[in-house]
Every structure is written in C-alpha cells, then in structure tokens.
Amino acid sequence: MAASLFIVFLASAISPLLVYFLRTRASYFLALVPLSIFVLYLHYLQRLHDGSPLLETIHWIQSFGVHLQFRLDGLALLFLLLIAGIGTLIVLYAGSYLAGHPHLGRFYAILFLFMGAMLGLVASENLIALFVFWELTSLSSYLLVGFDYRKKEARAAALQALLVTFTGGQALLVAFLILASLTDSFSFTQILEKKIQIQQNPSYIILVLLVLTGAFTKSAQTPFHFWLPGAMAAPTPVSAYLHSATMVTAGVFLLARLTPLLGGTHLWAWSLTSFGLLTMLTGSILAIGQTDLKRLLAYTTVAALGTMTMLLGLGTPLAAKAAIAFLLVHSLYKGALFMVAGAVDHETHTRDVRDLGGLIRHMPITAIASGLAALAMCGVPPVLGFISKELIYEAKLEFGQIGWFFAILGVIANALVVAVALIVGIRPFLGFPLHTPKHPHEAPFPLWFGPLILALLGLLFGIVPPLVEQTIIKPAVVAVVGDTIKVKLSLWHGFTPMLVLSFVTLLLGFCFFRMREKFRLARETLTPLRYYGPESLYSCIINHWLPSIASLQTRILQHGYLRYYVLSIIAAAALAVAAGLSRISLPGTWFTWRSFEWWEVLLCAAIFLAGFAAILTSGRITSVVLLGIIGYTISLIFALYGAPDLALTQFLVETLTLILLVLVLYRLPKAKSLSSKASRLRDALLSLAFGFAITLLVLKSLYIPHDTKLPDFFVQNSPIAQGRNVVNVILVDFRALDTLGEITVLGISAVGVWAVLSFIRKKSSSASASQKNSSPASFEQ
C-alpha cells in the first residue's frame, strides 16, 4: 500500500516535468500509474477471500501512536479499485480535455496528489492517518476547483468547498481524539475491540454528532449540500472524479467504516436515515429544475449520496448490500455522465441542455456511452443500476410500514433522478440538431473512451452479476456489517413489490421528464427561497458577519491611539496586581503606624504638592520642572536613608533629563487642553487605582522580612575582587554581565541617534533640494 502511495505522490511531483517535455502525450504515461495500481488491487481481491483484512504499518510518530497503518479489507478494496480504475480513465480524459492548457502539468500534480490522498484515506487503519489524507483531499479539491483561478466564481466556490469540508474535518478530528482518549489508541482494530465501552460512554452522543458533521460535510448531506453544485466550477475531469465518483463518497466511506463501531444504536440509525432521506429529496428536487448539464448531475449526486447514507442508517445486511451495490453503480454511471457532459461541452462549447439536440449524428460513440450510463441511472434492466434499485427497495420494505414510507419517498426521488437522466443522458443526443457555439464533431478518443468503458461495465455487471457480487460487493458488505451474509444479485426476482416500485419509478420519471419545462419555471419562481437556505447563511457569515465583526473588533482594539494603548496596559497591570493581592492573606498586623520624623513629612509633602501641581498645570515646562522636583526629592530620600551613590546618580539623571526636556519642549507651542472632563475623570481614576495598587505592594513587601544573603556575600567578598566599594564591585565583577549589557544598550542608542539623525538630514537635504531651497530645512539648525 505504501509503495503504491509513494508511486502516486512521485507521479504528482514529476508530472509537471513530464508534461513540459511530452505535452499532451504525457497523459498516456501518467495513466499507467493508476492503471498499475488498479491491476495490483485486482490481484489483492483474491487474497482477501479468507475474510481477514491485510494490515501494514509504517512507524511515523511514536509519541502519539500515529502511524501509517493500512487496512486492506473488502470496503477499502472496493474504493481502491474505484479510485484507481476511474482515475486511469480520468487521467487519459484530462490530457485531451485540457490539451494545450498552460497549467496542465500543475493540474496533473494536484490530481495525483488528490489520488494519493484518496487512496490513503480509504486504506487507512490509523484514524489520524485517515484524517491526514482526509484533509489532503480537501486541500487538493480546493486547488482543483479553483483551477480556473481567474474567475471570481471559481475562487469563491473553491473557498466554499474548502471551508465547509475543513470545518467538518475539525469536528472529525475531535471525534477521533475522543475515541483515542477512551481507548488509548488510534488504531481502528484496537478501538473496535472496545466498542461496548464506547457506546456506553456518555460522550457517545457527542462522538456521533462530530463524526456525522465530518461525514456530512464531506459527502454534501443537507444542510451542507450547497458546496457541491458550487464545486462544478472545476474543470469537468475534476467534477467527474472528485465530485461524483470518489471524494464525495469519502463521507459515505467513513460512515460505512465506522458503522461496526458506532452503529446499531437508535441515534446512529435515525440520524443517518433522516438526514439521508432529506438529502435524497433535496438533491433530486433541486436537480430537476436546472438547465446546466453539470449542475443537473451535481444535484443528483447529492441525492445519490443521501440514498447511500440512508441505506447505511437502515443498518441491516440487506441495506448495507444495497448501499455498496448502489455506490458501485453510481460511481460508474455518474463518472461516465460527467465525462460525457465534458465531451459535449468540449465539442459544442455549451452546457445548457436547452441548446443541445440531435448530437447522436455528430457524436455517435459518445451518445452510446451516454445512453448506457443514463439507463443505469434510471435503473432500467438489464443494467446493474436496475439490480441496485431493486435491492434498495427491498431493503426499505424490510421495515414494514415505515419502510413503505421510505420507499414512497424513494420512488419520488428516483423518479426525479430518472427525469434528470433523460434530460442529461438521452435528450441532448435525440431530436433536431440545434445551433451551438461550436459545430460538434465526435470527441477525440480519450474523451469517449472513459465514459464508454464505465457504461459498458455497468451493462456487463448487470448481465453477469456474479462478476462483482462475490468478488467485490460481498467482501465490502462483510467489512461493514461485520458478518458474512448471502449476497445474491440477479436481474429477475419474480413479480415482487420491488418490481412494481421500479416500474412506477420509471413511469413517473418519464412524466417528470415531459414536465421539465414546468419544473424550470417553478425553480425560477422559487429562487427567492434560496435566501433562507444554508448557502446564504454561509455567504452571510463569510461576506458580512466575519468582516464586520473583524473590523469592529479592530476599531476597538487596534485604533491607533497610543494613549489608549497605554491606558489599557495600565488598567491590565492594576487588575493583575489586584488579582494577585486577592490571593494573599496577610495577618492583621501587617501594617503598623509609626511616628514620623519632621523631614519625612516635609519630603512627602513636597512630592505630593509637586505631583498635584504637575497634573493641574497647563504649561509643559512648568510640569517638567515640577516632575524634576519630585525626582530631586526622591534623591534626597535616597541620601537620607544611606544610599549616597544612588542619590548622586538619581540627581545627575534628573538634571540631565530636565535640561534635555526643556530644550526640546521650548520649541513646541503652548499646550492646549483638549480632553473632556469625562476622560480626565477616567484617567484620574485609573491612575489612582494603579498608584494605590503599587503602594499596597510596596507596603506589603516592607512587612515581609528581608533576606540579606546577597548583600552580605557582596560585602564579604568584595575584597577578593580587589575592590572596597561594594557597588563598584557589583557593577564590574559580581554582575559584570549586566553592565556589559547596559553598555551595549547605550552604544546601540548612540548608533541609533546617529543613524536616525543622518537619515533625517539626508531626507531634509533632498527635500530642500527638490524644493529649490524655497523653505529652509528646519532640522539643520
């Protein structure tokens, strides 16, 4: 498994080169890659007959038990074959479809990236490995949907598909992490062993909801279905491959994979069936009114995915069998029809069904492929589609009354799908030829080869069901239901209720087909209803809510005013101190008054008065001088309490600051009072709060007995350091590195001042040169 993944990713890396040298012919070589993988896994099918899955492990991240573990069982092999098989045809098809496109190399690179991710996804035993591949498919889908990147709609559709599936992916990740926290493993086999524990755990409900979110977003279940029709902005090979046959079934795959683990409960059964039915109806009803070939098909894909989900929800072996058979059939016919749509588009340059007719004369082979695929989609005998439809009805009818209800809903949805099949697969080729932007010819070989093969396979499997029933379908069903069941497919079951239902479906479908114009009209009149749909919710969030919340928040937080930034930091600091103090319980005696010396009172009074005056004055110079008084008073305090060197330093710094500030401020105009009373009050309150907090802190630290081991050591050891002034020795020896750092800071500041000044000088000189000396450069003086 790892080898085949490696080959696919290698193909992804070298495909641009190959295309560069070989142009379109590269597609034939590149198609060999998925083809060989297809053959390889055909071979594996036989080895699987004893029923036990083949496991393979490559160690990756020991810390979390995340490894590249692969599990090849029936379910995985069914998907592997579909991915590799259809992949081969798509690679061929794309080479012709995008012939001469400047980005064909990149297209193949991303397509192979997707193929590898998808192969890895379905073969993963380790849930996180599965998740890794799961997200990679989302990413490659993003890049492929946006392949026509110059179109705004393509970019928007790519983003929509990515965001919806990525969001679901996050839910899935949490689900896997919960599973791991319950079972201590990411390995599916080991988790499966603890099934009962998991289902009885209270978090089971959340687990199921998260898994469903992941699977439903990926498989476009209502209400997440909207991204899939949007993704039709991708080139048609991509729509055929990712958005009908493989990637969108990843969600169904996941549900099937986890059914043995999470299934068997009412929650699982009811949520799957109800969402499945809802999706089935939504998809088919929305499909019928469309006129674009690809959108018609896309909505029926939604319906088909809903049908699969619903069948998995029913949970019986028969339903599982129906689901698997339908999945196979759907991939074959839907892949084929998409490729036909692409071929028609390629030959006529239109995809509007109203403009298409009589193409069988020009494109006979395409018409045959299309007709066969459409028959499969309708479920007409003897195509495999008929058998699968019978199976679906049979599975539903097992459930008695409610089963009949399901079956009737199914008949309606299927009839709509039949109508779409006629519109897409039959109608464009019959009738009178209509004028199209380009005169059609038979499409080149790669464009009809793929759909023809897929359509013929559908016919072949229908006539000779044993070809698939024992080899592919049965092992897959076993992997889902957990035990061996009798799988018997046949065209003729006798006169059964299912046969009646099939007949009614076809009849009704033909009626709907005749009424198609009315449906289109109805769609147009009902278009305003989209406003209430999930898609408009999505675009509302992305285009309105998110930007307005973001810009509102930015206006509040990143407004650009330094004073408010300072304000918020001071407020945060005051809050932090208060929070810190609230955790401390000091004894009642922590603060005691003692008598003051007269000069202490005097100094404090000086500081207070100067401080208040500095606040109240409107002159800049006055306030600087008043602040200077505070500084000098503090240095006096230092001097009085035995730190003369500190006092001296403070005195010098104060003086220097004062002089510099006065020099600068002298040039500035007189300050004006601009702030309102309210803002002054706010600032005053905040300052008081902060000052109060700091005061409390200082007082508190006075209460705590001081440890003097550091000063003691310094005093004792400074003679060893050849110095008698302890402060000096601290600066140059004990803590010399601090001094080095501070010197560096000073040096850097000097460099900075020099650099900034020389920049300014250069600017002003160039400015004055450009102004022809009309204004004197004021910086120079």
Binding site: H101, H349, Q553, V577, L710, D738, G741
Partner: protein, 512 residues
C-alpha cells in the same frame, strides 16, 4: 565555565563591534553572513552539548550561584537559541538584497547582531535581572532597526513600540523589586527554591501577575498586543521577519520559564488566567487578521493569534501540553518568518503587498506559489504539515483534559487562520492583477493561449531571496514529514520544564 553557553552572546557582540568599525560595505556583508553562520553553529553545538550532558549551567565570573550571574541551558532554551541562530542566519542571507544601502551604511548589520545577542542572552540567562538587561538590549536594538529609514509611519509605529515596551520593562522592574524583597535573590533557580519551600510563595502572587502583564506585552497577549500590529509592517522585510521570528517568542519563553520554574504555587489561579487570556488572544488575533488587506498586517495579527496557542499549552500545564507548546513555538517561528520573507518577495515583484492592488502570481511565479503554499497551509493546520501536528498535540491534550472550550476555540481559530491564508493565496496568487484584465477562456473549456506569464516588466527575485525562502520551506517540510524528532526534543524539554528540581539542582550545585 562552559564556553558554549556564552558563545551565542559574545559572537554577535564581537561581530557587532567589528561591523561598526569596518567601512567597506562588501566586507561588511561577508562578515555579517559569517557571524550569523558562526552564531548558528555555536548554538547547534550548544544543543548537542545539552542533549549529551543534560542541563548545563555556568557561573559567570566564577561567583557561585545565586550571587553571581548564572547562564543555564536546558533543552528548551538550547532549542530556542538554535532556532534563533537558524533564523538569524537565513534572514541575514535574505537581508543582503533586501535592506537598502542607506540602512547598511547606518549600522544595520551591527544592530542585527546586537538583536541576536539580546535574544540569545534572554534564552540563556538564569538570572531575573540579567533577563531584564537582555530585554533592554533587544528593545533598543529592535527599536533602532524599526526606526531606521525614518519614514513617517515607521516613526509612528516605532514610538508606539517603544513606549509600550518601556511600560513592559518598568512593570518587569517593579516585579523584580517585589521578588527580590520576598526572596532576597535574583537567581531564578534560587527564587524557585525559596518560593517552593516557604510560606512566602503566596505573597509573591502579585509579582507573578505583574510579570504576566510585562511578559504578556512582550509576547503580544490580549489586551497588550497593540504595539505589534502598529509596527511590524513598517520596517524593511528582513527586519520585520526577524522580529516576527524572535521578539514575541522571547516573551513566550519568559512566560514559560517563569510559570514553570518559579510561580507554580497556585496553578489553578495563574494558569487558569493564562488559559482564558490565551483563548481571547487566539480569537482577537485571527479576527484582526480577517479585517486586513495588507500581507504583512495579516501576518502580524496571526502572530498574536498563534501566541495564544503557545500560551494555551502553558496554561494546561501538563507535560504533554508543554511539549505541544515547545513544538508549536519552533514550528511557528520557521513558518511565520518564511511567510514574512515571502510577503517581502511579493512586494519586490509587485511593488506592494496590498492585496487589492496585486495578483496573478500563480501564473507568473509558480515556484513562489509553491513555496508560499507550504508555510501558509502549515499555518492553516493542513496535515501533514508541521502546523497540523502542533495543533494536534495541543488539541489532543485539550481533549484528554476535557477542556472543551479550549478545544473548540483552537479549532475554530484554525479554520479562520486557513481562511486568511486562502485570502492571501486567492488575492495575490490566483486573482489576475488589477491592471491587466482578462477572463480565462470561456466556460471551463481551456484557453490554449498562454497566460501573461511572459510579461517582460516583471522583476525577478534575487538568489538570496530564493535561498532563504527555500531553506525555510525545507525545514518546514522536514518537520512535517518526520515530526517525531522534534517531538522527541519537545518532550525532553517539557519533561525538564515540568520537573524544575533538575534545573535548580544544575544551577545551584554546578561545580563552577
């Protein structure tokens, strides 16, 4: 005295001095590169040493701890120094063709070296006051780097940067005073030892909170981050790239160091606050980015958001969560620096990084597109890129701690991050340049005519740009494809962080 411990500081210091004295611009460039390479090599040797011998401490001046200044390297700090060295080297290469000759003449190289010195010092010091000094060194050199050029918006951003960071410094100093008055020591290990064993521990809680605010400003936590988006987009790209790589991470490092070593007395109080702040930081950062249309501004806001992830791991305060934090920091530094460099490359090609004015790079410069996708998708958390594993480790721990709100926010922010990255991708790379109009063919049928990829006016990127960007993308890919080695390192770092006794032992009882 272990020379390896001080080399990451002295090498840049000496180079800075030499670079100031040398007049030849050409020689300066070579010395600049050589000095950064030497710094990187020294830091690599240091990490090897730490991995071989465990936590390594050196007493500078041979004064025994806690009386002198101790330098300590545990796995975490050695990793941080190494990533500093690597980023310093790669951004230095990039800067050769990015920074104008005006800058080069006016001390750019020396300032850059001093910045590396300050950052390395902050990671290696075991002394709180010395940490303050390194913060000052960083602050001064980064401010001058920020203001060089003296354009109007540079000065306006620079003033905000300086004032708010000075506030941080003064709060730090206040907290230092408090800690000194409670413990009588400035040595971190000693302080931890004292606070752990005495009833004084609790009374240091307000100092702890002040430090949280002070380091929170440095790290860019909510609501203290305003300096970052105000200034990061203004200087030359090399400068904002090295800022993005290192400055906030020093704040995060200091938070991790202090709140794993010294203040672990009331974890349910301090670390719960950290969790709350982290969550708000993640959200506000990512929402801020959503409102921006200039590449570097978007990236700046994302730094804030991602800082939240890192401190969230600290808030969880389990060994696994700390390992996630360490992993996250390393991954983030590489990815975010690279994104800044790519933003610079975009401006170089298009003349501006304003998303509304540019486009078409997907067709014009496919390699740049690929090189952008690697870090961008990594930041967005797309597996198997490094960002996914970083987020995964954190969220996994969140799930096992049943911290559902944190898990929800972390993942929701991840989605929004991806949204922002796709915004840059769609606007700068996919969208056609606004000046050239032209839809790409009809329907989805291909248009065989080649796109405007041959526009002759498109300037090409210098080799140094490619070298730095490619090297960083390669590092990201290396982490992504084989994350186990980084997890091994991170787990080792986390194990050391969650048992501080080893650290204390190494500092207080080292032989020298």
């Amino acid at each position: 005295m272990n020379l390896l411990l001080v080399l990451p500081i002295f090498l840049p210091l000496v180079s800075a001095a030499i670079l100031l004295l040398i007049p030849s611009a050409k020689l300066q460039r070579w010395i600049h590169i050589a000095a950064c390479l030497a710094h990187f090599a020294a830091s690599a040797l240091l990490l090897c040493e730490v991995l071989r011998k465990g936590i390594t401490a050196s007493q500078l001046g041979n004064w025994p701890a806690p009386f002198g200044i101790t330098f300590v390297a545990d796995t975490f700090s050695a990793m941080m120094v190494l990533i500093t060295g690597l980023m310093g080297f790669l951004v230095a290469i990039y800067s050769l063709d990015d920074v104008s000759s005006e800058h080069q003449k006016r001390g750019f190289y020396s300032l850059y070296q001093v910045l590396l010195m300050g950052v390395s010092g902050a990671f290696l010091t075991g002394d709180l006051f010395n940490l303050f000094v390194w913060f000052e060194v960083m602050l001064m050199s980064s401010f001058v780097l920020l203001a060089l050029g003296c354009s109007r918006h540079q000065l306006s951003g620079g003033v905000k940067y300086l004032v708010l960071n000075f506030l941080s410094s003064s709060l730090f100093l206040t907290a230092l005073g408090l800690i000194y008055s409670v413990t009588g020591t400035l040595n971190m290990a000693d302080a931890a030892n004292i606070l752990k064993s005495s009833p004084l521990g609790i009374s240091s809680m307000s100092a702890a909170m002040l430090l949280m605010v002070s380091f929170g400003i440095k790290a860019g936590l909510f609501p203290l981050f305003a300096w970052l988006p105000a200034s990061y987009h203004t200087p030359p790209v090399s400068v904002s790239a090295i800022f993005a790589a290192l400055l906030t991470k020093v704040g995060v490092y200091a938070l991790v160091r202090v709140f794993t070593l010294i203040f672990t007395i009331q974890v349910d109080f301090t670390h719960d606050i950290l969790i709350g702040i982290s969550l708000i930081t993640m959200l506000t950062g990512v929402l801020g980015a959503a409102a921006q249309y200039e590449t570097r501004k978007i990236l700046s806001f994302h730094i804030i958001s991602q800082i939240g992830y890192m401190t969230l791991g600290l808030g969880f305060f389990t060994e696994a969560a700390l390992a996630a934090t360490v992993f996250y920091i390393i991954h983030h530094i590489v990815v975010k620096t690279n994104l800044f460099l790519i933003a610079g490359a975009i401006s170089k090609l298009k003349g501006t990084a304003e998303l509304k004015k540019i486009g078409g790079l997907y067709a014009e410069s496919p390699w740049l597109a690929l090189l952008f996708l690697i870090p961008a998708m990594s930041l967005g958390g797309i597996p198997p890129l490094s960002g996914f594993f970083a987020k995964f480790a954190l969220v996994k721990e969140g799930v096992s701690l049943h911290a559902w709100l944190s898990v929800f926010v972390a993942l929701a922010v991840g989605i929004l991050t991806l949204y922002s990255m796709t915004k840059i991708w769609a606007e700068a790379f996919w969208k056609a340049s606004p000046n050239e109009n032209g839809d790409f063919g009809l329907g989805d049928a291909p248009d065989p005519t080649p796109t405007s990829s041959t526009t002759p006016s498109l300037p090409s990127l210098p080799a140094s740009f490619w070298a730095a960007i490619t090297a960083m993308a390669a590092v990201t890919l290396a982490i992504s494809s084989w994350p186990q080695w980084l997890f091994d390192l991170s787990e080792r770092a986390a194990a050391e962080l969650s048992t501080p006794s080893h650290y204390i032992q190494a500092v207080l009882h080292s032989k020298q």
